[in-house]
Amino acid sequence: MLTCIKGGRVIDPANGRDAVADVWMRDGRIVEAPPGDARADEIHDATGNMVMAGAIDIHSHIASDNVNRARLLLPELHRASPPNPAAAPLSNAPSSTFETGCRYASMGFTTVVEPAVAPDAALHAHLELADVPIIDKAILAVLGNDDFLLDSLRKDETPSLIADYVAWTLEASRALGIKVINAGGAAAFKANAREFSLDDVVPFYGVSSRQIVKALQRAVDELGVPHPLHVHCNNLGLPGNAETALATIAAAEGLPLHLAHLQFYGYGKEGPRGFSSAAARVAEAVNAADNLSIDVGQVMFGQTVTISSDVLRQFNARTQASPRKWLIFEADANGGGIVPYDYRPGNFHNAVQWAVGLELFLLITDPARVFFTTDHPNGAPFTTYPDILALLMNRDLRAEWMAKLPPEALEVTTLRSIKREYSLTEIATMTRAAPAKLLGLADRGHLGPGAVADVAVYSQASDRAAMFRAAALVFKDGELVVRDGKVTRYRWGRALWVRPERDPGIDRRMKDYYGDRYGLTPDFMQVPDGAIQRPDPFELVPCHS
């Protein structure tokens, strides 16, 4: 079927385009305008509207065993929402998989990455993702606190053995990339450490956090996995932790590295409360290191729940739980912690956090290296995205928000002095072109011929939040799925994954390891197609050769 989106303003920075044009789709792909008088089977008038590729979220905790623990821990947050069967019954906390897919699609998102899946819980995550409708998705597998890796580093195994193990993990768990979360911190916590920094050493294993990050970074790079190692640094949330971020940036030594939710590492120790923004310094370091990409993890005010595999941090944070309950889970490798939290606009620390996120967005100059996230739901639920986009695009709106916050909090930030406003092209770069490139998805994030026909059409409105909250039209694989922000068609997406080459000898090695250590075969780590019970549940993404 030939479909035409007619007469919209096409904003497609990947192809250097910002002009009124028609977008043609056939069989799920974008195609060239057909020659002569070819007629479209379906025409959608987009006159006066904006046409962009479907948006891509590189870091959002939407589906995993830890996400599910959060759902079960907080039934009252579900009740807080109005009982409207036509909409999601949960707007401000992790929601059911079905609502997740619908809400993302209604904002024009078509691909979302769940960034923290323990390899032994990969099947669980993929089963949840299979019940997330409409959008495509992917997981990042978490390594860096796992016994096998730490044991291998202790024994000084070769980089190629580490690379084979990373490849084995990616294949078994069907992941698109590797994330490391407070490298070594969860393992150190098991030995009763209560803080853990980049050069601290994991007891028993005798390896430092830095060594773990470097080993994984090198393995991911050498395997040709498109997405660089995705790093959640040590010392999340602590005053003065900008030093940790800067040290980690320096440790990258020019090789590709992605730093996740950098807002949570943008803190100094200045000011009357010993807590201040160090975003300007951190942004400067990011600007100077073009091997580096970051996502922000913007904080927005309201009730949410923090879900993290940084079990040490979550253990320490449990005393701040609001409401007062929490769940700490320890397994091989990271485990996780669930701590509900209420970001309040009158709270000094929360106001600084909000400002730090915006400073990073606005002070990092290249929109292709700063990614749009709230670390859903840790900084805020993803449903706040439209409001954040509006804040980035309008300094008067920021001033209105700042007027409601404690002035002493803003004084320890630079936000008031920042005049920059994002353009629509920059927004499209940050949410479409750049994430596709970062994840190695050549046929996404743009509207050139051959691209997957994931398209979002927004009506032109001065209220940017309203505009981005409810897309006028959304197409997934060329099929109309959303009209005026309402889902019109349910369909099932695919999970994207990579399978780098590896020495088959690692299979034997893993079998022996699980046998010796646990008396098990590693079969339980596998994610077979047949277990998912959806047609074509996976799509392989090529690695660099």
Partner: protein
């Protein structure tokens, strides 16, 4: 051998599915209960309940919710059997029924040697706080403080008070409790093990509070052993599909969770429910409640029902035995694929529900 019956008489599967659809369509409040099934069966059952405005409950919700209630009212630290086997220098076994709750407990945890890097640093010590048990001799290093289950909260409270340096009433075996408190404090990585089927909520909350307190100075975690019939796996599916645990109803067109209101046995006995879909694929178990409502049963062929055969009975296979399944894997507490040990022709719960859903969707089918 027949695989479907109406009122005890063998029928074709399709006829049984059509009759089941008829009953569900006519019902004002159907309950989908038992829920002893694998992940696919749970996905199908919950999807069906949402479609027909029914209620979902599991036969072991009571025990399951006892643990969950402590987490969602207070807080909880937990770990996995694998991690406990690898790292724990101290095991505290609390209350009766542990080996019943998890028959592999001995092989997978108690008797598994710790990881080599910690093995030379400790000798695993095992303590039991609970009623005397015949298994006592099995653990050479075990110390036992005999307690009836009903006295456990007091013993746990005493332990917690002693560890927190608070005054507490002298119990009859105060010396043993004192000694146990000192042993727990000396643990480097301790794990408390319990089965919610055997403890009340107060005891579990006190134990979880004790574990939390121990973490002020050392490392300790909990290992709740989950009830049978795949209750914990079904809980996961329920969580991601609805946002809630079991005892959730779709009566108003959206999921609502209420442990009292949506308890299947209460709904049946009060007469509020007027049709039940009963699922028990792991055992040919019949419901333990009575009621005059029509029952559609998806169980093993040899289930014994109390008063009369169910209105519709479809025989289903056992997950992981008759067919491949995704189930909770106890050593890691995560979901994993199990391959059929003796693949058979028996249909799965998901397939049986698929047949019923097909009949529900087809008007022609309903007119038969």
């Amino acid at each position: 051998m027949a695989d479907a019956w109406i009122d005890g008489s063998p029928v074709a599967l399709r006829a049984a599915a059509i009759e089941a659809a008829k009953l569900l369509k006519a019902s004002r409040l159907p309950v989908v209960a038992g829920l002893g099934t694998d992940v696919d069966g749970a996905r199908a059952a919950i999807g069906l309940a949402a479609q027909i405005g029914g209620v979902i409950d599991h036969m072991h919700s009571q025990a399951l919710l006892r643990d969950l209630d402590v987490a969602r009212e207070a807080g909880m630290m937990v770990t996995t059997p694998n991690e406990a086997a690898l790292r724990a220098d101290t095991l505290l076994m609390v209350g009766p029924g542990l080996e019943t709750a998890w028959p592999d407990l001995n092989a997978r945890l108690i008797k598994r040697p710790p990881a080599p890097e910690v093995a030379d640093r400790f000798r695993r010590r095992i303590f039991r706080l609970g009623p005397g048990t015949k298994t006592r001799e099995r653990y050479a290093q075990e110390a036992v403080i005999g307690r009836a289950a009903k006295d456990l909260p007091a013993a746990l409270a005493a332990l917690r008070a002693i560890l927190a340096g608070r005054p507490c009433r002298k119990l009859r075996d105060a010396t043993a409790i004192d000694r146990l408190a000192a042993e727990l404090r000396a643990a480097r990585f301790g794990v408390a093990i319990w089965s919610a089927a055997e403890l009340d909520g107060v005891a579990i909350e006190m134990l979880c509070g004790l574990v939390n307190d121990l973490n002020r100075t050392t490392r300790f975690s909990g290992l709740p052993l989950t009830p049978g019939d795949h209750a914990a796996g079904v809980l996961e599916v329920c969580g991601w599909m609805t946002g809630f645990p079991m005892r959730t109803g779709f009566c108003r067109g959206f999921p609502e969770h209420d442990p009292w209101r949506f308890q299947a046995s209460r709904l049946v006995e009060s007469g509020e429910a007027d049709c039940a879909l009963w699922i028990s694929a792991y055992r040919a178990a019949a419901p333990d409640w009575d009621g005059n409502l029509p029952i559609i049963a998806l169980t093993g062929a040899d289930a014994k029902f109390r008063r009369r055969p169910p209105r519709v009975h479809i025989a289903v296979g056992r997950p992981g035995l008759d067919h491949d399944a995704v189930e909770r894997f106890a050593p890691t507490g995560t979901l994993a694929r199990t391959q059929a040990k003796h693949a058979s022709q028996a249909i799965s719960v998901a397939q049986a529900i698929g047949q019923i859903a097909l009949a529900l969707a087809s008007d022609r089918g309903l007119s038969c």
